[in-house]
């Protein structure tokens, strides 16, 4: 039986982790993710979990300790935000290349500078090529549900890669929403026991991790690593299907909202999707054929499925909550446009940078985007494809 509760996104993640009862959780605090280890530490103190909780001296150390624990054979994770993730930069690649299925509860926050503690996606977008699976949430419920599904994806024998479960700083991490929690036993059964094939603490079979790989091997090693990524889409869908069986909530690689006959579409990641849905509902009532494609799985990038979902669209706006400094737009824009190009799409596409450093996105803003898309389609010209939403000129 599901339990209804009202929780912040950070509380929801902490509760999912209590239910998962991981083996090792090294942590160092940083706004806005601090509450995750904070709530979890209380579960440790209360004896509700038997996790080894390690307060470390930095994020470089928290990720290193999580990697060491994972290599030792433990189910491990840590949590962070913004500069904390940047300080883990080196270790992110180590975790992925060693094929260690640990988790990172990321609460998205702008990277400095100028210094800012509010939401955008510049932290995780910077880590998009690190070899981690990245899954994003629109709201607290999705953050919780994604965390429950995380280890089933990461630890799958055809994948074995680290996974980043992302949610928007403050917007979902601190806002309290009504949501449904699964029973502890249901989560425990769904996630199951972690049984690594090889691990450092196995006395029967000693193991070397992270060997030096000279030029003769390095490229083959990276190609071998990519093979794990190639299986992620299928595993994500299978795990989601099983999750729907216990929760009644359905997930995919992305959510296509009112896309069935949409001529104008927005592609975006995270909490602003909720705002966009409100704009879409309003415009649909006026007879406008508008829709949303909300990315859930960003790494690996399900390019073919996304291009397929955008097949009938005349104009599309790709929304990036991070700058790319390419002079052409942000990272999601580049990925979506490349997907459309490979699919020989005729859709006119523009890329917006929005919501940086916690800048609010309103329903009217998104209505304005759809109006622009309609104009672009009428003109048959996308014009400037690299745009800023709501910037003071």
């Amino acid at each position: 039986m599901a339990k209804r509760d009202r929780l912040s996104g950070n509380e929801a993640i902490a509760i999912a982790l209590r239910q998962i009862n991981p083996d090792v959780f090294p942590a160092f605090p940083i706004t806005p993710s601090t509450e995750i280890p904070q709530y979890f530490a209380s579960f440790v103190a209360n004896g509700q979990v038997d996790t080894e909780f390690i307060p470390v001296e930095s994020e470089h150390s928290s990720m290193s300790a999580a990697i060491g624990a994972s290599a030792a054979g433990a189910r491990s994770l840590t949590a962070t935000s913004s500069c904390g993730l940047a300080y883990m930069w080196e270790e992110l690649y180590i975790a992925a290349s060693n094929r260690l299925p640990l988790a990172l509860a990321l609460v998205n926050r702008a990277l400095s500078g100028p210094i800012n503690i509010n939401c955008d996606h510049s932290d995780s977008m910077g880590a998009r090529d690190a070899g981690w699976i990245q899954i994003y949430a629109e709201n607290n419920q999705e953050a919780y549900d994604n965390m429950v599904q995380a280890y089933r994806i990461a630890e799958h024998e055809s994948v074995r890669l680290p996974i980043m479960i992302c949610q928007d700083g403050f917007i979902t991490s601190h806002a309290v929403e009504n949501m449904e929690l699964l029973e502890d036993e249901e989560v425990k059964k769904f996630v199951g026991e972690y049984q690594p094939e090889n691990y450092l603490l196995n006395p029967e079979c000693p193991m070397a991790v992270g060997p030096y790989s000279i030029t003769d091997y390095y490229m083959e090693a990276k190609r071998s690593q990519a093979e794990g990524m190639r299986h992620v889409e299928e595993v994500v869908l299978n795990v989601a299907e099983e999750f729907a069986g216990i929760s009644g909530r359905e997930y995919g690689l992305f959510e296509a909202y009112r896309m069935e006959d949409a001529e104008y579409a927005v592609v975006m990641i995270g909490s602003a999707a909720g705002t966009t849905k409100d704009a879409i509902d309003k415009l649909r009532e006026q007879g406008e054929k508008v829709g949303l494609l909300k990315i859930r799985l960003y790494r690996p990038f399900p390019a073919e499925a996304i291009a397929q979902a955008l097949k009938g669209v005349k104009a599309v706006a790709v929304m990036d909550r991070a700058e790319g400094y390419t002079n052409h737009g942000g990272p999601l824009g580049a990925d979506v446009m490349a997907a459309l190009y490979r699919a020989r799409s005729q859709a006119l596409a523009v890329n917006y940078i929005y919501g940086l450093g916690g800048r609010d996105v309103r329903v009217e803003d998104m209505e304005g985007i759809f109006a622009t898309l309609k104009q672009i389609a009428a003109d048959g010209d996308a014009g400037e494809t690299y745009r800023y939403l709501g910037i003071r000129e």
């Binding site: 060693n98 079979c205 000693p206 193991m207 070397a208 060997p211 000279i214 090693a221």
Partner: protein
Amino acid sequence: MAADITKLGVKATWKDLTEGMIIAGAGTSKEFNTGEWSTDKPVFIEEKCKQCLLCTPVCPDSCIPVKDGKRGEFDYDHCKGCGICVKSCPFGAITMEGV
């Protein structure tokens, strides 16, 4: 389960590599031919050798086998070509280009 490293070598395809490049199992260094990436090899000139065995202990890779008190031919599968043995030989019984 011990990793199968028998296919590891400079001709290995990406499918031959172990997942995450881990090496499970002990004592695997004998099976892994670290000598395959050396560019120079020492040459043993047996007629000049007095069997003093000064070369054997200085080899960092234990590539100079000794049997019945006499050294034998180099183990080129594991010799990295460092040249220390050349320097250690007082009789010029080991030569190597550039050393």
